[in-house]
Amino acid sequence: MTTHPVPTDTTAIPDFPAPRSASCPFAPSPQMRALADGGPVSRVRSWGGSTPWVVTGHAEQKALLADPRLSVDFANPGFPSPVDPQYSHPHARPDLSFVGMDDVEHARLRRMISGTFTIKRVEAMRPGIQRMTDTFIDEMLDGPKPVDLVQALALPLPSLVISELLGVPYADHEFFQTNSKTLVSAVATGEQRQTAHAALSQYLDGLIGEKIAEPGDDLLSKLGRHVEAGELTRREAATMGVLLLLGGHETTANMISLGTLLLLQHPEQLAAIRDAEDQHVVVDSVEELLRYLSIVHLGRRRTAVEDIEIAGKTISAGEGVILLGELANRDPLVFEDPDRLDITRNARQHQAFGGGTHHCIGQPLARLELQVLYPTLFRRIPTLRAAVPLEETRFKYDAVIYGLHELPVTW
């Protein structure tokens, strides 16, 4: 379980991060599963000999995510870095606006834009998202096969949706997709990440300037109005734009490709989604896929600012805490037979979007995109199949957001 000489006493602690098993690419790391079986809160050994806490239990994660005694500020000395410091300059993590801030500042910024993501406003986008999905599938059907589903559908759909919402020209998609991918890569150098972040911030700053001169009814224009009102600096507005553009497409794109591949392995469940007449079947399926895949893996990262007693352990002030959603979402106390994909279960308790004050702001939109995409894809291309065997599929073992580098498909 560990690469160190194995001590015989019980203080042996496993290394983190621990790899997934290549023979079971949809399951969490077997070492972390073993850790979870031993208890909901444990220590691991990470970069530079640090020993942060890892939380694997569902109830414990839910409580901690909503606990103000945990800080997301990565400037805290004990902050458990998601990337090996050899790939990063200490404290040179790119500024991603409010996702890296604690309340009250976090809430001030987040609430400037949260109104855009109410259930009603997002639901009103359904017909537009259906049309976009159909158009991308039309183009796919007209083109050659096999085709890479990531480039033909999984990336274009969420990129177009978030571009229109923000008021970013979709024509620039290659530029923002490439730089976003570098930002979430765990193996890009710190310098590469800084360069990608600078390019994106500069790009968004330019767009915000244009929106201030000529406002539209998009989200960047809204940020521009806050800048004009003196409530937001240009820099704050630009980094908020980067966060939304990045969060808006990388995550959803990986859910689309990975979810499609998983369903192709479970043809009877795929058929149930394809043939569903009741929208609830689709809604429940999407929740189960979010739970099962938990693509934002490797943990929510926090630092304790006060001592916290949890599950019989004491997390001391200053210690790092890593909340592993992929294990919470397979906690047998909450999900019966958790390793079984079952689109008919009630999976709504999952934490694939995190929890507490940083709970994903875009989740109604992501859910809607997935609810439109899966059934439409399987209805329009009922003979869809992977064009390469599972063993040859390239999984994103090396990214903060799990998914597929490409998914060649044919029909």
């Binding site: 609430r111 400037m112 949260s114 109104g115 993501f117 109410t118 709504r348 995190g354 709970h359």
Partner: protein, 66 residues
């Protein structure tokens, strides 16, 4: 049953609105929860319990005895 909501904690996720639209709504400007029925009718109490347990911010409190 009596419901209270914590507007400070609420992250505007709208899970409550999806599950129990008769009882919860969201403010237009920032998506923060609006309580429509502080004392929900008996037929809505199950969905209210589910909303409280699914709420990602633990912002919905139920007093079952009230």
């Amino acid at each position: 049953m009596k419901i209270t909501v914590d507007e400070e904690k609420c992250c505007g996720a709208g899970q409550c609105v999806l599950i129990a639209p008769e009882v919860f709504d969201q403010r237009d400007d920032d998506g923060i929860v609006v309580l429509l029925e502080a004392e929900p009718a008996a037929e809505h109490q199950d969905v209210v319990r589910e909303s409280a347990s699914v709420c990602p911010a633990a912002a919905i409190h139920l007093d079952e005895k009230a």
